[in-house]
């Protein structure tokens, strides 16, 4: 049945145009369901309207109190819907099994979700780049580059709370659950750039936990992979990169304009004394920054006691990476000074 109708049914107008192997099945099923709904809904409404008119209360008319029961009709309108929903269930279940059966020889991507950024690690160990995007609330987003016409497998973990990995164009969604791996696969069919959302509520910036998926040709994909493994030698450049790649930028502002986002701004605090939540003060220096990266809750900045807690980066950053970040944060003080 699927095959007979599949080519007759146009892809559903309201959907974003599809770019994965799941699209035909999902769109087909949804379209059919929609038509079934119409076939039920329209007659119901028409009947409602007609009865309202035909049997309206009016002088000299009194409806018959008969017609309280009719086995034939009642059985029909029980059995027919049953058959229909059984078919819908079957279609849906079959499609779902395709989605959950992961084929062999996939290209694997490690996905780590944390408040509030997606982090992607390619199987050559390289990490995603963060690039400027237009038509989005967030200026810069992580970019996940994938080759076209390949089976891709997402190996997903969460650092903190529940997230959900959702690419509308692929009709693919799977929750990312802390404390366990969840897997998601799809077959890319079309080059282009697609939106990636977090669809499980995860706190303040849930609605900014976005990313872009770039499906490209094999060659460009290889280029991207090669680019992904390099981190610049220059500590400052490297710090800049890590600041975005590690998701610091999702909470901590680094621009000259004042504090924004859930975390305190890096800008212009270097070398000064900063007030802490516990009332004391501390020098904002290498030592403090390092400690705050490894054990963030130890010395929370004043006014950020109620902010959503940052997780420790112990074991996630190499020592030289931490140094690079420190160099970067240190540099901000100078820019701010230049600003003055």
């Amino acid at each position: 049945m699927n095959f007979i109708l599949a080519d007759k049914v146009q892809p559903y107008a309201w959907f974003p145009d599809g770019a994965s192997s799941f699209v035909p099945q999902v769109d087909f099923l949804f379209t059919v369901i929609m038509w079934i709904c119409v076939l039920f809904f329209v007659p119901i409404v028409i009947a409602m309207g007609y009865f309202m008119w035909a049997f309206r209360e009016r002088p000299g008319y009194r409806g018959s109190p008969e017609a309280l029961h009719n086995n034939l009709i009642e059985i029909t309108w029980t059995v027919v819907p049953t058959i229909i929903v059984v078919w819908i269930f079957w279609e849906g279940a079959m499609g779902y099994l395709d989605m959950s059966r992961i084929p062999k020889g996939t290209i694997d991507v490690n996905v780590t979700a944390k408040k509030w950024q997606w982090a992607f690690k390619y199987d050559n160990g390289g990490e995603h780049e963060v690039a400027a995007v237009e038509d989005s609330v967030v200026k810069e987003l992580p970019i996940l580059v994938l080759p076209v016409d390949r089976d891709i497998k997402m190996i997903m973990r969460s650092d903190d709370v529940l997230h959900s990995f959702y690419i509308p164009a692929f009709r693919a969604k799977r929750d990312v659950v802390p404390g366990r791996y969840n897997y998601l696969w799809f077959h890319t069919t079309k080059e282009g750039t697609y939106d990636l959302f977090c669809t499980e509520y995860c706190g303040d910036n849930h609605s900014q936990m976005l990313a872009k998926v770039k499906v490209v040709s094999e060659a460009e994909y290889q280029k991207a992979l090669a680019k992904a493994i390099q981190e610049p030698e220059d500590p400052l450049e490297r710090g800049k990169l890590l600041y975005k790649r590690q998701g610091c930028s999702t909470c901590h502002n680094a621009g000259a304009e004042g504090a924004s986002g859930p975390g305190p701004s890096y800008n212009g605090s270097w070398g000064k004394k900063v007030a802490l939540e516990n009332g004391t003060e501390v020098d904002f220096d290498e030592n403090y920054v390092r400690e705050s990266i490894l054990n963030p809750q130890a010395k929370a900045r004043k006014g950020y006691g109620k902010a959503s807690p940052m997780n420790s980066y112990a074991g996630k950053l190499k020592d030289e990476q931490i140094d690079a970040l420190i160099t970067f944060i240190k540099s901000l003080e100078n820019t701010a000074a230049a600003g003055k």
Binding site: I102, N110, T112, K153, R157, G179, N182
Partner: protein, 155 residues
């Protein structure tokens, strides 16, 4: 009121024909107090004590997986005794029996589905040992992920 003598017969009727008597006892409205004979109370109590001793005793040996089932079966027998006799379910309105047994069905549903699902994703769990994480030899997430991936594609 003039019901006391009506009750007097009922009170001392032995519990069994109370059981039958119930459906038909519509005529008089006071057939609803059924004192339990003392011998029954006592024998149930001692049966319960005995069973308690039994579970403690069987817990001495390591029966492996059978052990939990053993103790659950014994516990269920005890629970059955309590419900049937101490709670008079044996002579109670069938509705009340249906009510309480029905609830057990829903408990079974709840546990059944939840555990079924939990079992399903068990191999995906990242076992978090709070010791090994902070120590040398600790695997960073990437390598763990690689291992897991290998395992997953293997299956």
């Amino acid at each position: 009121m003039a019901h006391t003598n009506a009750h007097a017969e009922n009170a001392h009727t032995d519990s069994h024909d109370v059981h039958h008597g119930h459906g038909s006892s519509h005529g008089d409205h006071h057939g609803f107090s059924h004192p339990m004979p003392i011998w029954m109370l006592l024998s149930v109590f001692f049966a319960l004590l005995f069973l308690t001793g039994l579970t403690v005793f069987q817990a001495q040996f390591d029966l492996g997986n059978a052990e939990i089932w053993m103790s659950l079966i014994i516990a269920t027998i005890k629970a059955g005794l309590v419900i049937l006799f101490f709670m008079h379910l044996l002579w109670d309105k069938p509705l009340n029996a249906i009510v309480i047994l029905g609830s057990l069905i829903f408990v079974a549903l709840f546990l059944g589905f939840t555990l079924m699902d939990a079992e399903g994703y068990r191999e995906n769990l990242i076992f978090k040992s709070t010791i090994t994480e902070s120590q040398p030899g600790y695997k960073d997430p990437a390598t763990l992920a690689a291992e897991e991936a290998a395992a997953a594609t293997g299956k």
